[in-house]
C-alpha cells in the first residue's frame, strides 16, 4: 500500500515536471531582457501595445466565439433530431463529422480555394470568414463530446414528456434537452476554442493574420513576445479547461448533495 503511494507520488512529480518545465522555460524566456540582461515585462506589454499582435488576438478570439456559436447551432439540433427522428442517419452523420480528422489541412485549403472565391466575393476578405472552415475542422471533437452527453440521458422519454406537457420542439430543446447535456455542450465549446486558438496551417496558407500566424511572424524578429503570446494562449486554454471541470463538478455536487440527503 505504501509502495503504491510512493509510486503514485513519484509519477505525479515526474509528469508534473514534464508538463510544467516547458511552461516555466517559456515564462522565463518571455520575461528576460535579452540585450541589457535582467527581467522585463516588455514582451507581455507588447501583447496589447503591438497593434498587429493585438488585432490578431482579437481576430482569433472572435473566430473562436463565432466558430463555437455556429458549431452549436448546427450540431446540437441536428444530433438531437437524428437520435429522435432519423436513427438511420446516425452512421452517415457520424462519418461526415469525423471526416475532417482524416483530411490534412493542406488538402482542405487547396480544396476550399474555389469555394472561398465565392465567400470573399459575397462576404468580403475578412479573416473572420475562416469561421466556415473552422466549424468543419472542430466537428470531430465537438461531435464526440455532444454524442457522449446525449447518450447519457434518456433523450426520447424526456423529449416526449416535454412535448406531452405542451412544449413545442424549440422549447423542448432549449428548456429540457440543453440543460441536461450542458456539460457536453461546454466541453464541445471549450475543445473547439482550443482547436481554433491553436490552428496555424489553414490560416497561414489562406493568408489571414490570426494569433498563431502573428506569433510565428513575430518569432522571426522578437522571440520573447512570440513566446509570451504562445504562453498566454496555453494558459487561456488551461483556464478554460479548469473552469469546465469546476463548473461541471459544481453542478454535479448541487444535484447529488443537497441538504438533508444521505449518500
Amino acid at each position: 500500500m505504501r509502495a503504491a503511494t510512493v509510486v503514485r507520488g513519484a509519477l505525479w512529480v515526474v509528469f508534473g515536471l514534464f508538463f510544467l518545465f516547458p511552461l516555466y522555460a517559456m515564462a522565463d524566456f518571455s520575461t528576460r531582457n535579452l540585450i541589457a540582461g535582467g527581467r522585463t515585462g516588455q514582451a507581455w506589454a507588447n501583447l496589447v501595445t503591438d497593434q498587429a499582435l493585438y488585432q490578431a488576438i482579437v481576430v482569433s478570439l472572435l473566430l473562436a466565439v463565432f466558430t463555437v456559436a455556429a458549431m452549436l447551432v448546427l450540431l446540437v439540433p441536428t444530433m438531437i433530431w437524428v437520435r429522435l427522428r432519423a436513427p438511420w442517419a446516425r452512421g452517415p452523420v457520424e462519418f461526415l463529422c469525423l471526416l475532417p480528422l482524416t483530411i490534412p489541412a493542406l488538402v482542405i485549403v487547396v480544396g476550399l480555394r474555389n469555394v472561398y472565391l465565392w465567400v470573399t466575393y459575397l462576404l468580403g476578405d475578412s479573416a473572420l470568414t475562416l469561421t466556415f472552415v473552422y466549424v468543419v475542422v472542430v466537428l470531430p471533437f465537438a461531435y464526440r463530446a455532444l454524442d457522449a452527453a446525449l447518450a447519457a440521458i434518456d433523450l426520447q422519454t424526456l423529449s416526449e414528456a416535454a412535448r406531452s406537457l405542451g412544449a413545442g420542439w424549440t422549447a423542448t430543446i432549449v428548456r429540457v434537452v440543453v440543460p441536461n447535456i450542458w456539460s457536453g455542450i461546454l466541453s464541445a465549446a471549450f475543445i473547439s476554442i482550443a482547436v481554433v486558438l491553436g490552428e496555424y496551417t489553414i490560416a497561414s496558407l489562406s493568408g489571414y493574420e490570426t494569433l498563431q500566424v502573428q506569433i510565428v511572424l513575430i518569432g522571426k524578429s522578437d522571440g520573447p513576445t512570440s513566446v509570451a503570446a504562445s504562453l498566454a494562449t496555453l494558459l487561456f486554454g488551461f483556464a478554460l479547461l479548469l473552469l469546465l471541470s469546476l463548473v461541471t463538478r459544481g453542478r454535479r455536487r448541487a444535484r447529488t448533495l443537497a441538504p438533508g440527503v444521505t449518500v
Binding site: I153, T157, A161, A162, R163, S164, L165, A167, A258, V261
Partner: protein
C-alpha cells in the same frame, strides 16, 4: 355500469371527455402493430389495455398521445378529430414506463413545467403544483431533484406533473412496471384514487392482468394489434370471449371435454358451457385453477404431483387418468393435507367453462 372503485364510490365525471379510436392501423415495415383497432372510452372512464408485449397496446396509447402516427384510422377526443394535432397541442397528461422527470429541475418545477409552457403566471404555477404534490402525498419533497427520490416517488411526481395541466385525457404507459411488488400495489391503488378524484378520462396500458383487473372500469384485452374483448373486469375474468383472453387472463388448464345441449362434460362432471363455446362435439375446456377441486380419495384415479405453497393460497398439480397434468388452486391450509403421490379425485366447480374447438 358498475365501477371498479377499490372501495371508493363514485360515478363517471361529467366534465371528462369521450375518446374514440376508430379503425386504427399502424404498420412498421412489414409488421402490423395495430390491425383495425376500434376503442371508445366514455367520459371519466378508466380503460386498461391489457396484452402481452408486442400486442400493440403501447402503440395505441402513443397514437392517442400524438407521439406516433397511425397508418390509417382516426383519433377523436370529445367528438373532435385530433389525428393531425401535434402532441404538444393535444392536452394529454402522460406517465411513462421509464422515469421521465427532468433531472435538472426540482420536483416542484417538474410539476409546474406544463403550466409554464401554457404561459401561466409564476404564482399560479407554484400553487397549482403544490396542490398536485399534496394530492400524491409528496409535498415534503418539493425541493428535491429526481435523483434523490425512489422509483415509486418519481412515478407519483410524474402523475402529479401529468395532472397539473388538467389534461383532457390521462395516459398511463405501464407506469408501475419498473417498481417492486409492494410499491406497485400501493401506487396502483393511489392512481385509481386520484383518477376518481379528478375524474379524468384515462387509458392505462399494462401487461399485468392483476393490475388491469384491479384499477379499470373496463379492460380491453389485445392480441396482435386487435381488441379481443372489451368488458368490465369481472366479465373478462368470468366470461372470456376468446381462447386467447381465457389463456391470458389467468393461468388456465386445457382439459378435453364433450359438449352437448349447452353443457360440457369433463373430468367426470357436467357443467354449463359458456357462450362462445363450440355447439356440440368434442373440444378443449379452459378451466381456471381456482375452479378445479381436489379431494383426497383412496380410490381416486388421479395422483398429486407437486404442492406449491404461495402464502394465502397453494397450487396443487395433479396427473389425471389420461396422463395430462392439471393445476388446482386451493386455500393454503387445505393444501397441507396433500403430499406428492397421494390418490385424489379431481372435479370442476359448477360455474361453467369455455370450450373451444380442438
Amino acid at each position: 355500469m358498475s365501477r371498479n372503485t377499490s372501495g371508493v364510490s363514485g360515478s363517471f365525471n361529467a366534465s371528462g371527455v369521450g375518446v374514440a379510436l376508430d379503425d386504427l392501423t399502424r404498420v412498421y415495415g412489414t409488421t402490423k402493430a395495430l390491425d383495425g383497432l376500434t376503442l371508445h372510452i366514455e367520459p371519466g372512464e378508466l380503460v386498461a389495455l391489457l396484452g402481452p408485449s408486442g400486442c400493440g397496446k403501447t402503440t395505441a396509447l402513443r397514437i392517442l398521445a400524438g407521439l406516433d402516427e397511425a397508418t390509417s384510422g382516426t383519433v377523436s377526443v370529445g367528438g373532435v378529430d385530433v389525428s393531425k394535432v401535434p402532441a404538444n397541442k393535444r392536452d394529454m397528461g402522460m406517465v411513462f414506463q421509464a422515469y421521465s422527470l427532468f433531472p435538472h429541475l426540482t420536483v416542484l418545477d417538474n410539476v409546474a413545467f406544463g403550466l409554464k409552457m401554457r404561459g401561466k403566471a409564476k404564482g399560479d404555477r407554484a400553487s397549482r403544483a403544490a396542490e398536485m404534490l399534496e394530492l400524491v402525498g409528496l409535498s415534503a419533497h418539493s425541493h428535491k431533484y429526481a435523483s434523490e427520490l425512489s422509483g415509486g416517488q418519481q412515478q407519483r411526481v410524474a402523475l402529479a406533473r401529468a395532472l397539473a395541466i388538467q389534461p383532457r385525457v390521462l395516459l398511463l404507459d405501464e407506469p408501475l412496471s419498473a417498481l417492486d411488488a409492494k410499491v406497485r400495489t400501493q401506487l396502483r391503488d393511489e392512481i385509481r384514487r386520484v383518477q376518481l378524484e379528478v375524474g379524468t378520462t384515462t387509458l392505462f396500458v399494462t401487461h399485468d392482468q392483476e393490475e388491469a383487473l384491479a384499477v379499470a372500469d373496463r379492460v380491453g384485452v389485445m392480441s396482435q394489434g386487435r381488441l379481443e374483448q372489451l368488458a368490465a373486469p369481472a366479465d373478462v375474468y368470468a366470461n372470456p370471449a376468446t381462447p386467447f383472453v381465457a389463456d391470458f387472463v389467468g393461468l388456465n388448464n386445457k382439459v378435453p371435454a364433450q359438449v352437448s345441449g349447452g353443457r360440457a362434460s369433463l373430468l367426470g362432471v357436467t357443467v354449463p358451457a359458456l357462450p362462445g363455446s363450440v355447439a356440440s362435439g368434442s373440444g378443449i375446456a379452459m378451466v381456471r385453477p381456482e375452479a378445479v377441486t381436489v379431494t383426497a380419495d383412496p380410490a381416486g384415479a388421479a395422483r398429486v404431483v407437486a404442492v406449491s405453497f404461495l402464502g394465502a393460497i397453494s397450487r396443487v398439480s395433479v396427473t389425471v387418468a389420461d396422463g395430462s397434468t392439471i393445476s388446482a388452486q386451493t386455500a393454503g391450509s387445505a393444501a397441507r393435507t396433500f403430499a406428492p403421490g397421494d390418490p385424489v379425485t379431481v372435479g370442476v366447480e359448477p360455474g361453467g367453462v369455455l370450450v373451444v374447438a380442438q
